[in-house]
Amino acid sequence: MENFKNLPIVKKLGFNRIILVLVLIAMYFIFSLGSGRMLGQSDLMNALNMVDYLGFLALGVTFVIATGGIDFSIGPVMVCSGLIAGRLLVTFGWPLWLALIMCVVVGMIFGVFNGILVAFMGLPSFISSMASMMLAKGVGSVFTHVQNSNWPASGAPNSGYKYFVSYNGIPTGLIFLLVVTIICSILLNKTLIGRYILCIGSNREAVRLSGVDTRKWEALAYVICGTLAGIAAITYVGVITQVQPGLGDEFNNNAIASCVMGGTSMAGGVASIGGTFIGVLIISLLRVGIQAMGFRPDYQYIITGIIVALAVFADIRSSARKK
């Protein structure tokens, strides 16, 4: 095993990332065997539907975890954005483009709010994001009078938002996500913004003494996260169409599990955008695979819970080994 780890190609790609890809491939065959048929195009398209919105959520939360914080509000913020924009579109007759912009703006506002609470007011991210999670659920419910927000169905007027997920069988959502993944990767690894975010996660006090405004850059991580939750809302409504108030918690776990599984350290300072993307693919395939094997969808919660626990354990073990 040590010899394999020391191979130049393994060092370059990263041992953990190779293991993740192997896990992904193994899962495909295990689920195919378990369900008695090879998972086909429709299963994979089904998995991709989830990849779209979960991917944006996971990318966003990667920035926050890189600072050493956490954001438990991403799922409810995504649902809240979908609810508000949907009501503006359908009930108030806003044009589609404006409603979609509103999705992103709502996410961004929650990001700014979280950023102020954590970076400027010094609240622990764990607590403040719990607060904004409740706030997002409440705002969504109040704004829609606890009614579902029904976005126009395919073929109806104003249904163009569905092109963000699929267009004539082309998985545009995945292409969109890949483009944003590349942008996020460059932002985190090759720009000063990303460097500051990672350095804050690594040693906040040293960054502060260097003269860098840590509050500003930490807050920016939350704004990026909120904005990506808003973008996730566009693909979420593209898949779901009917958005229910009060939901969203389950997406937090999946997004955070994807990040940690992908190699982002819960201690901050280390983040892998590529790893997060592979983590999202694994979680999404897991959901489809469990359904294909004939289990009820609620089993997915059990398995995701076990995976989160294992990912956390592996993260702690691996940081202990690295030291």
Binding site: N6, G68, I70, C199, G211, K322, K323
Partner: protein
């Protein structure tokens, strides 16, 4: 090669930029000039003075300790880019100009970096350093010591090895590692073990 007078030692032991400025001005006037006083002033300016906001105190060399560790992490891909970034950072720290002032210049550069590294190591004692689980759990002393060792390795030996910049980072590495070895009695042994474990 790196030995100097007790007064200059005092200057390089001081970690507060404002006090360092006072000492620098004093020592440049009272101590015999070894030919590197101009260079020392240039290093101070490059490290602590923000030309755009003169009242603001910065510490670019301290930031570069963190920066080099992060470059190490991101240098798996686009190594040329990381190499260029490292060399540009060394240039901004006036590393290339040390030679112009001979042995005294190299000594001044070494001690300036050693001072920055000592300040970095001081920040590692803060309660916010090396917290786990989204900042919720503080680490124990042993875990903290191991993490510091990893950071020092990444910003010195690891970076030089990964980017093949041993020559350019010679003084930097020596200064950072010496500062680390002086910070804790078990540091040198821990560092050597870490180097052995990470030899490619």
């Amino acid at each position: 090669m790196f030995e100097q007078s007790a007064r200059w030692n005092e200057y390089y032991r001081e970690l507060e930029p404002a006090r360092r400025r006072e000492l620098l001005d004093q020592l440049c006037m009272t101590e015999p000039d070894d030919g590197a006083n101009d260079y020392r002033r240039m290093l101070f300016r490059a490290r602590h003075v923000d030309e755009k906001q003169p009242g603001r105190v910065v510490d670019r060399f301290l930031f570069n300790c963190l920066n080099f560790a992060q470059i190490w992490s991101s240098a798996k891909w686009f190594r040329k880019y990381a190499r260029r970034e490292t060399l540009q950072t060394l240039d901004a720290m006036l590393a290339g100009r040390a030679g112009e002032y001979g042995e005294a210049g190299e000594r001044a550069f070494y001690w300036e970096i050693r001072n920055a590294a000592a300040r970095y190591l001081k920040t590692c004692e803060s309660s916010g350093y090396n917290r786990s689980l989204f900042g919720m759990i503080a680490s124990g002393d042993e875990s903290r010591a191991e993490r510091v060792c990893r950071d020092v390795w990444r910003m010195s030996e690891g970076l030089a090895e990964r980017l093949d910049l041993r020559g350019q980072l010679r003084l930097w590495n020596r200064a950072v590692q010496d500062a680390y070895f002086m910070s804790d009695p078990g540091a040198q042994r821990r560092f050597e073990e870490y180097c052995e474990k990470n030899q490619s």
